[in-house]
Symmetry: C2
Subunit: 577 residues, 2 copies
């Protein structure tokens, strides 16, 4: 491509409303432009990257045996009513009416449509397993779209859905998809981690997220220092402290703690560490058979935080997790939230594993402005129910017994999920099994945020000059910059010749033949992030050399004009392919 | 691809609600499935065709110098309000509200979005001309979606928009796009015609439609027998009859024609040909400066039909064309519509070119139940205004003076259009010209109905067994059918070997390794329309031969096993590439 005939829409200024690096750089490098909140146009330079990501995803999905389809973006409400999601799905579902007043939505995902297709199309276990995918524009009406294409409303997703006659077959395809996702993210040159994710709400038996590691990531992910263990913070198990609980050494005593309403305040007031204070949270319980919903107390160590997903997944806790109101607490306990504790509490108590190891601890006295000190489990208060209730913290032991946990920030770019029969059951999607009996299909679903990957890659690959694309998804692999080519026919001719030579060798080449100052051209090529750069100049031609600089290189180097192609081949990852 | 691991979703029955061949065959061959009215899922087999069409369109657009972009499908109302189309566009525009209640639409076209993008991005004539295109899912809420993907609500379109500092530059790019479209439709193997189209309503200076010729086409297109002249019926000029009008030979006389209200009835009643009767139509005139809208009479030969576009394009006729009501006719003329005529009519009269050549003709007497015979222009009624008002008919002389006109049915698959400054003026899209002055951009737009092309190709390429794809867009170029391969390891091995050989030579191959009867496999491959078919059988292997049959061939032929690849290469159009 000749830059003189191409939209090089670079900008010097960092856009004021772009918070994260990838958003800033995609705007500055002329990759995207905002149309409206959460809606972006892809300019030619950005679209080249997006298409290369798509191609890698497509090639690996095809290799896995998945079959590409394309379903409509606009979906009829009837199918969503059948699955129950028309009511359940919140404001993110963009609903609309057609000219006849019928209800439709702009699909954020396609479980219903594919399940409808497959229940009509497949009749026998012999046609299974089958895995169908599409690469398609989706819409989620995010309450607060942000970070450019990272969390846009309209975005491109690869979504796949697999169908099985039993759970073993689902498991096999799930493993294939896990490996396929690793192959995709490897080829994309991303530093990523597959992590265990919670699958409780949908009732499936397994779920993994694929996270790109980046400080701007919106998710916390957890690794072991010494093993492959990795999970997102919602899922990561906090194991019980080793050994037995120590024996009590203090007597329980009541102390006045006027106006001390938080753990921090109480700990400071009583001069103890927060880890020696018990945090008591009252939440709504599941309704009983009479439709009555009481409260449940959750006890955590004062320095730990409640993991809402873990709490919500407990059968006796109401879902979604709902904190008791101030009125309910007053009514049930007789004091404010800051003074409650497990001793003599009249509601069921569930104690976190770490909290269950506390000795001689402090807790609220269930009496306004008073706490108890020297409290001990069993002696002062029963310990009937211990569960994992908290978020892990750095340094916790890894659940697999190997090493300790580290916490990093991640950007979710993929998610694989065993759906089980959630949709197939609701929508009556069955086939005949080996015995000629009707079997409800088992399903898996597998998503990749295609447009988000473009931004994620930039979060991991940039410097103060701009983007540093991996060769595999760079808009152009190599730039040829002609210096003053408009004044020097020999420079332009040498640039053109090199351009044709590299193109014919299969490289994506941008010939920067613009009538611009050298500094402007260099800055643009660096901002755009092209991995390899050749400079053609009169000085160089005299010596029959070109200047080369890799985007990550500190220094330039002169190479013989005749060696350009072999040099590029050796400098490019294609060399190893 | 192995058929045993692929969704071969063929059906024997012709679907009852599919009216045209392409819709029937796309369903029967397992290319598409209906989700809801005008919404179709593309199954793997159909998507392969769609992607090949896309690729050809993309390659030729790239070659033309156009740059690919991708704009959001969801568009904010504000831009459409700026262009004035938010109000003008009818029920086809799918409008919706986001969670904050803001107005959006699902884009049926992207003039507003691209004009907004370009007015912000381009500043100088030096950056022009520029042509941007996308291949994207569009939505038009058709009142009556029909014919499958031929007239669907959600469809895939290639839309391009070019920007220019003056009309000459627009003209150059328009010519490039005309040539590019011909290259695209040539490569797609379509029998098509570029035809002149009317561009009056948008005010542009030129417009061409590209029609695929097919009896199921919804449009009438017109050609010359002896030249390149082609136009759609709206645009095709009806030239004035050759020579001067003959002299009158009859006296004008009034005759009673009781209850004879149509041209046919009057002609029969008076025993004259319809071509000797004048048809008089009263339509609304443009409002005058006082806001008063009167009537205008349009006179046609009785055997001709009014061309509404031509009438509407006349400056003194109201747009859109509106027929006078019975009440208005009674009030102005004093009789019913069946008895009106130009003689002594009190409203302005515009006479069609052919009608102006009538001699001794019949027309209404402007008196209920009466007509005049022997009427002659000039002698009996003034002939002040002659225009081209009618649709051409077969046998009319071609407007370029060469040959006569033929009329065929066409499916519109492309449209190129000089928009001029319609959008750029409304949206204030300017650049600085060579003199440093602000110049409103000239624009062109260029559409191709990508998904419609798939159906159009089938309309032209099928027989009673199924589809006959051109090699360039066939889902697979060649099928290898193994006969009883599940029983014969040598047949399966030979099939696999041939499969790998042809694949490695670059062919798209479908290995039909299914455990099905030979007849089922042959019928499926023919229905799906794969251009080349090899059969591997035990009998053949004994003789070291394969059976070959081209999809259009009458007969099979045996070819030596070792010759399969060279034979295929010579049989395939790639041979000539």
């Amino acid at each position: 491509m000749r830059a003189s005939r191409y939209l090089i829409a670079t900008q010097k200024e960092t856009p004021a409303d772009a918070e994260i690096i990838s958003h800033q750089m995609m705007l500055r490098a002329g990759m995207i432009r905002k149309l409206a909140s959460g809606l972006y146009s892809w300019l030619p330079m950005g679209l080249r990257v997006l298409r290369k990501v798509e191609r890698i995803v497509r090639e690996e999905m095809d290799k896995s045996g998945a079959q590409e389809v394309l379903m409509p973006a606009v979906q009829p409400a009837e199918l969503w009513q059948e699955s129950g999601r028309w009511e359940q799905y919140g404001g993110e579902l963009l609903r609309m009416n057609d000219r006849h007043g019928r209800d439709f939505c702009f699909g954020p995902t396609h479980e219903e449509v594919i399940t409808d297709l497959i229940r009509n199309e497949l009749k026998s276990y012999k046609e299974l397993p089958a895995n169908f995918y599409q690469i398609q524009t989706k819409f989620r009406d995010e309450r607060r779209p942000r970070f450019g294409v990272m969390r846009a409303r309209e975005f491109i997703m690869k979504d796949a859905y697999s169908f099985h006659v039993n759970a073993e077959s689902l498991n096999d395809t799930y493993q294939v998809m896990h490996r396929t996702y690793c192959a995709i993210f490897d080829r994309l040159g991303l530093d990523y981690r597959p992590v265990e994710a919670d699958s409780g709400a949908i009732g499936g038996s397994a779920s993994h997220e694929f996270h790109v590691l980046a400080s701007s990531g919106e998710d916390a992910i957890v690794f072991s220092t010494d093993s492959d263990y990795a999970a997102n913070i919602e899922k990561a198990e906090a194991v019980a402290p080793a050994g037995d609980r120590s024996s009590p050494s203090e007597e329980m005593a009541e102390v006045a703690t006027p106006e001390q309403r938080t753990i921090e305040a109480v700990a400071t007031f009583l001069n103890v560490d927060a880890s020696r204070c018990a945090k008591t949270l009252l939440v709504k319980a599941e309704e009983d058979d009479n439709g009555h919903s009481g409260l449940i107390a959750l006890i955590l160590r004062g320095d730990h935080t409640l993991n809402e997903i873990k709490a919500e997944n407990l059968p006796d806790v109401a879902e979604p997790l709902t904190m008791a109101t101030d009125e309910e607490i007053e009514q049930v306990v007789g004091c404010k939230a800051g003074s409650i504790g497990p001793v003599n509490l009249t509601v069921p108590v569930i104690v976190d594993r770490s909290a269950a190891h506390m000795v001689d601890f402090v807790c609220g006295a269930n009496k306004e402005g008073h706490h108890l000190t020297g409290v001990n489990w069993e002696r002062d208060v029963a310990l009937s129910r211990v569960e994992d209730l908290r978020d892990v913290v750095e340094g916790d032991p890894s659940p697999d017994g190997k090493g300790t946990l580290e916490i990093r920030r991640g950007i979710e770019v993929g998610h694989i999920f065993k759906l089980g029969n959630k949709y197939s059951k609701a929508m009556n999607a069955t086939v005949l099994d080996e015995n000629g009996k009707s079997a409800t299909l088992e399903m898996g679903c597998y998503g990749i945020g295609v447009s988000r990957i473009v931004a994620s890659s930039i979060e991991q690959n940039h410097d103060d000059k701009g983007i540093i694309w991996p060769d595999a998804i760079a808009p152009f692999e190599v730039a040829i910059v002609t210096l003053n080519g408009h004044k020097s026919p020999s420079v332009m001719a040498a640039g053109e010749k090199l351009y044709e030579q590299l193109r014919q060798a299969g490289f994506d080449v941008l010939l920067d033949d613009r009538n611009e100052r050298p500094g402007v051209k260099f800055a643009d090529m660096e901002l755009i992030g092209i991995p390899h750069r050749f400079v053609v100049s009169e000085r160089g031609l005299t010596a029959e050399t070109l200047e080369y600089k890799g985007r990550r290189d500190e220094d330039k180097q002169d190479i013989p004009l005749a060696e350009a192609l072999p040099f590029l081949i050796s400098a490019s990852p294609r060399n190893g392919l």
